[in-house]
Symmetry: C2
Subunit: 424 residues, 2 copies
């Protein structure tokens, strides 16, 4: 049976109570790391606001909240439909993004700009920081008795929003990770050795765990999977690799960029120090995890130094391609990203309400979801991590995780190994 | 007009002169770095030999020439057609691969095994080293008056075989690179900064040059492209980056892993020494270029140290995904890879001849190629690099390179930027 969600083309906006609408401008923004489908959410908001009498303008703020402060807005209703259609299927954030995490003072400036431009509807597409921004701006509006309808539209490849079954962007990134591991498993069969692939995820291992989709047969990799939810032990890691390599003659390893030891020190930092490298830190004292191949290289060196210099050890870091590789997205993810944009716009038009749109699974077979509005404060600033039921021995993910993930990712390409006995 | 090559399903083997056929076993092997379409060539050989009376067995040697020495053969005609169909579209080398570069003594052992198993047909799918292996084994057979038909079937993502317009595997890897840069260009627009992407290619820049396909508008990246054919100057590089960043407010850079300075020292090595890192070398004294993020990280540090610590500088290394990412291949490449396998088998069955199958373009519009048999010695051990006409100022590739590449890569996904003026 097909999934029971509504097709993209059959959508009809139902606005429940037009009499309650406040007239003014709407602002839409995108925040945080881009995804393959964040533009679907943007287009979902735009198309739902189109033709609604209460919406005097639909403005896009460039580069997230910083565009609000800097008064950099574009007219989103002026964009031709065919361009919107192309933007919807393009990766990255079309409006530009921002890493700013607004505090109350910053939000006051946002609110001032909103009052100045008579903005009455605000849609912020992003992760839990964006939800927090919505929450604070909304508080300021309430305190001033200014009617502002604030909606957080979920987005994050990390899949780490609480009260959500999963988040838009995750399944497409998971599909990329699955295809990467499916291919790398065959590559590692062809030229056996030890191969490490570093996957995005500072606190949550959901994306790294997507590598399980590459396992079709008993000897398929990834043979080991390390996620931030399980404390990493460098000696134990060597023993794991040695055991797999002795048994299978090769070893494919999935590692979250954010793995940390039992004292919560990032492994990248611990190994950098141990191997005598200089450690660069950002303003918050964090070491850089994305946009560098350092962790993979440190782990390679760690293996070679301890298990043998002659071993063929290689490391790749999947990098920004996980969120931005053109043409790689899950159709279910694209649909749901569109829907959360539409649902936010519908909810804002329907009532003087605020909130975050969640995705909650209502059935597995056929796969089906609902999009309830939940309170901003319940999502804001919180991080969800993987259930312990999926973690195995601190060095793997249970194959049962596929039951959760497969319906989100959809069809995967063929990656067929040749398995035949030698002739005599 | 559609390309004028024959569709995969309309193939018919024509064997010219059956009376000249020698009876015996055929051996097929795969060598060097895997590609997205090397299994198409394997299946092309298998299906063409099927049902031919002269072919008593079609054996696959596991892990290239090492499988011949170790007597590890599988029966390829016993594999069901549906499995072959799945293998054909799977990345990596289904028989396993090898990095061995046989010398004469090694080839003598190959020849001994061939004589022992009455092997009369040998097909080796690989780059210029594989062609050289065919050449030596063929010489040994000739010297012994043993009839052996040796065919080199071309394969390399490096696109560096002489006398070929292009090589099977290249276009699919180029497609991956194009999709990666199309997405990363939009990612870099959304979160501006300096982004370096390292692409495979030790001596030839063809694959890195494929990044030009990501440029649709004037301000699109990659803004700078560095290939091994142009000597790299670390100071000049800083000036290039600084100029682009000042003009565009961001900078996306494509870099071949094999870039070297004017003294032919790899940049990875020069910067490692300069930045105080330990340099690991292989048995040949070469430093490792693939399977590490080192070069990208060295270039990032070089920029930060010299242009400013606060710059947002990131580096990704596209890694083995370029050759093995499941589901990413060019249909033209897949077809041509199948054809060179078929053509090799047809040529071997037709006559007591030896050679390498080449791909030569006979027309651009409509795109069309021929597959002549060329002499093994003309390909063996030689490396083709990019024409100087495509190199611009030592830091870029001319957009005209697209005319050569686009027909090979085929259709690319949509990556649409939003380009509108701010409202007042």
């Amino acid at each position: 049976m097909p999934p029971r969600y509504i097709g993209l083309d059959t959508h009809e906006t139902e606005i429940m109570s037009k009499q309650s609408q406040v007239k003014g401008a709407a602002v839409v923004g995108q925040s945080g790391g881009p995804t393959a489908v964040i533009n679907q959410s943007l287009v979902g908001v735009i198309e739902t606001l189109r033709g609604q009498g209460a919406i005097e303008q639909t403005l896009g703020c460039l580069h997230g909240v910083s565009g609000i402060i800097d008064d950099k807005f574009v007219d989103l209703q002026a964009i031709p439909t065919d361009v919107l259609d192309r933007i919807a299927v393009s990766p990255s954030a079309a409006l530009g993004s921002s890493r700013d995490k607004p505090d109350r003072a910053y939000c006051e400036r946002i609110f001032e700009r909103f009052a100045q431009r008579n903005v009455r509807y605000f849609f912020y597409i992003g992760g839990n920081d964006s939800s927090d921004t919505c929450r604070i701006v909304n508080e300021l509006a309430n305190e001033s008795g200014y009617e502002l309808r604030c909606f957080h539209v979920p987005k994050t490849i990390d899949n780490d929003l609480v009260l959500n079954d999963h988040t838009p962007g995750y399944a497409s990134a998971a599909k990329f990770v699955a295809q990467a591991f499916m291919g790398d498993n065959l590559d590692n069969r062809a030229l056996p050795g030890i191969k490490i692939d570093i996957v995005m995820g500072r606190h949550a291992g959901f994306l790294t765990a997507a590598s399980v989709l590459a396992r079709q047969d008993d000897d398929d990799g990834p043979h080991l999977i390390y996620v931030p939810e399980a404390a990493f032990d460098a000696d134990r890691f060597l023993a794991d690799v040695d055991r797999v390599y002795s048994r299978v003659g090769r070893c494919l390893i999935a590692v979250s960029e954010g793995i940390s030891d039992s004292e919560d020190t990032p492994v990248a930092e611990r190994l950098a120090v141990e191997q005598g490298h200089h450690v660069d830190r950002d303003a918050h004292g964090n070491i850089q995890l994305s946009g560098t191949g350092a962790l993979g290289d440190f782990l390679s060196i760690h293996i070679k130094r301890n298990l043998g210099k002659k071993l063929r050890v290689r490391a790749d870091t999947l990098g920004y391609m996980q969120r931005s590789f053109a043409g790689c997205y899950s159709p279910v993810d694209a649909h749901e990203a569109r829907m959360v944009g539409r649902k936010a716009a519908e909810a804002a038009l329907a009532d003087d309400a605020d909130g975050s749109i969640a995705i909650q699974r209502v059935s597995d077979s056929p796969y089906g979801v609902e999009y309830p509005v939940i309170e901003l404060a319940t999502v804001a600033g919180k991080t969800r991590t993987m259930d312990s039921q999926h973690l195995v021995d601190g060095n793997n993910i249970a194959d049962g995780f596929k039951d959760y993930l497969a319906p989100l990712v959809g069809e995967l390409p063929i990656a067929q190994a040749l398995r035949v006995e030698c002739v005599k």
